[in-house]
């Protein structure tokens, strides 16, 4: 499983495109928002946490269809299904690789982009914490969406329609955590809820993803 993870990471880095693209997209979203709502610092500071979370979510969404598409086309996925490791484990590793190449850079870059949006000083810590806790869930759920649409020719748009409603709880608690942190309020409830959702997602959703992949490979 470690070998699989390393292989995916190597592919992501060497094949180019995938690694920095999400980050660049995130930067563009953050740049475009002030054009849309105006450059006043007060307004930007108020919406900064939400915009950063939305940007991270969209950047994550952008790279989802790559998770299984290439492996499906060249037959690697068939080998993974018949491999001695459980498919659930392989799927989890796929999600982990996606998180390391997309989610982790976003987490690290978010404070820098926070400066651009006048994020209030006490919110930085909570921004990083919430993204660190929340983005793994985004990757795992995205893997599920990618598994559902892997056999389709034009699955990209459908993938977003399927995955975005699943992101709602994570987004709500993540953004709420930053908002409360920025206002200096009690953060325990959203923090625990966010961590709980992510933990449950990591534990349970790979089973659904693996089931979807088995179904998709059955017909081919």
């Amino acid at each position: 499983m470690i070998a699989l993870l390393l292989r995916d990471l190597r592919l992501a880095v060497r094949a180019g495109g995938g690694f920095g693209l999400g980050l660049a997209f995130f930067l563009i979203v953050v740049t475009l928002v002030p054009f849309g709502v105006g450059p006043e610092g007060g307004v930007l500071a108020r919406i900064a946490s939400g915009v950063l979370w939305l940007g991270a979510l969209l950047a994550c969404l952008l790279s989802l269809d790559r998770i299984f598409a290439l492996d499906y086309e060249d037959g690697t996925l068939d080998l993974l299904v018949t491999a001695p490791i459980p498919l659930e484990g392989a799927v989890s590793m796929k999600a982990a690789a996606h998180w390391i190449t997309t989610g982790l850079p976003l987490v690290l870059a978010a404070p820098v982009f926070g400066v651009l949006l006048h994020l209030p000083a006490p919110a930085y810590l909570w921004l990083v914490v919430s993204l660190l806790l929340g983005t793994p869930a985004l990757s795992v759920l995205g893997t599920f969406g990618a598994a559902l649409t892997v056999g389709l020719k034009r699955g990209g748009l459908l993938l977003s329609l399927l995955v975005l409603p699943l992101y709602v709880p994570t987004l709500i608690f993540g953004a709420e955590l930053v908002r409360r942190g920025a206002a200096g309020m009690e953060v325990r409830v959203p923090l625990l809820m966010l961590a709980g959702i992510t933990a449950a997602t990591i534990a349970l959703v790979p089973f659904a993803s693996a089931a979807a992949i088995r179904v998709n490979l059955r017909q081919a």
């Binding site: 599920f144 559902l148 649409t149 056999g151 389709l152 699955g155 459908l158 329609l161 399927l162 975005l164 409603p165 699943l166 709602v168 709880p169 709500i172 608690f173 709420e176 409830v189 959203p190 809820m193 959702i197 959703v205 659904a208 089931a211 979807a212 179904v215 998709n216 059955r218 017909q219």
Partner: protein, 242 residues
């Protein structure tokens, strides 16, 4: 005699052809009766005026929107566990109806909210979770449309329905946390004292019965259509093979 007999399409077609006219007729009777009673023969409420009458469409539609998803969950589970095709087709047939019910609840809610709350839309927990439910219906239907192989489509939408149910429920409580609402509490409940007086209660009950029967009739009709479509495809394929 067991319920699984209806997993046989022939048996299902036979029974549903008997039930369908009755369900349709009763639904029409209940809906026409309930709506006329509700719209024209009940007094205006003290603090709501005539806007109270939206309740006869809004509440049943909202109830159905949620219950249809539950029905899809059950039929999807039956399909995934016991592989009865009729069950999967019933789930497929129910989805568009559920979506329209969600839409009706949202629109009638907006029509009621405009004079009462002074706004068409408010990011209230109930309204928001209905919007999210609407998105789940959309995604579910889109997945059915996108996949050619019917068994694959049934499997994948079944899995999506299971995961979606968990997340729809989770979203419901997440939005409760996220924003305090304007929407009043449950109008109907079994354990507490009734919130509305009998004058409105009986026509409402009739309307709810009408909506349920209407849904049953539509689902039977649509499932029958799907079964016939499936047979037609099988026949065409046999023709090509011969």
């Amino acid at each position: 005699m067991s319920i699984w007999e209806y997993a046989n399409p022939v048996k299902f077609m036979k029974t549903s052809s008997l039930v369908l006219p009755w369900a349709t007729g009763l639904a029409a009777a209940c809906l026409i009766g309930g709506l006329i009673w509700g719209f024209f023969l009940t007094p205006d409420a003290d603090n709501f005026g005539s806007t109270v009458k939206v309740i006869y469409v809004h509440v049943p539609a909202a109830m159905m929107a949620i219950n249809i998803w539950v029905m899809m969950l059950v039929t999807s589970l039956i399909w995934l566990i016991r592989r009865h095709h009729v069950s999967a087709l019933a789930a497929k047939a129910a989805a568009p109806i559920g979506m329209v019910m969600t839409l009706i609840a949202l629109i009638t809610g907006a029509i009621w909210g405009q004079p009462m709350w002074g706004t068409w839309w408010e990011w209230d927990p109930r309204l928001t979770s209905f919007l999210i439910l609407f998105l789940f219906y959309l995604g579910y239907m889109a997945l059915w449309e996108a996949i050619d192989n019917p068994d694959t489509a049934a499997d994948l939408t079944g899995v999506l329905c299971l995961v979606g149910s968990v997340f729809a429920l989770l979203s419901r409580y997440a939005v409760l946390f996220w924003n305090q609402g304007l929407h009043q509490g449950a109008t109907l409940s079994m354990d507490s004292a009734q919130h509305i007086s009998d004058v409105y209660w009986f026509p409402l009950l009739l309307c709810i019965a009408g909506f349920i029967l209407f849904f049953v009739a539509l689902v039977l009709l649509r499932t029958r259509t799907e079964i016939r479509l499936r047979r037609l495809k099988a026949l065409e394929q046999r023709e090509r093979m011969a």
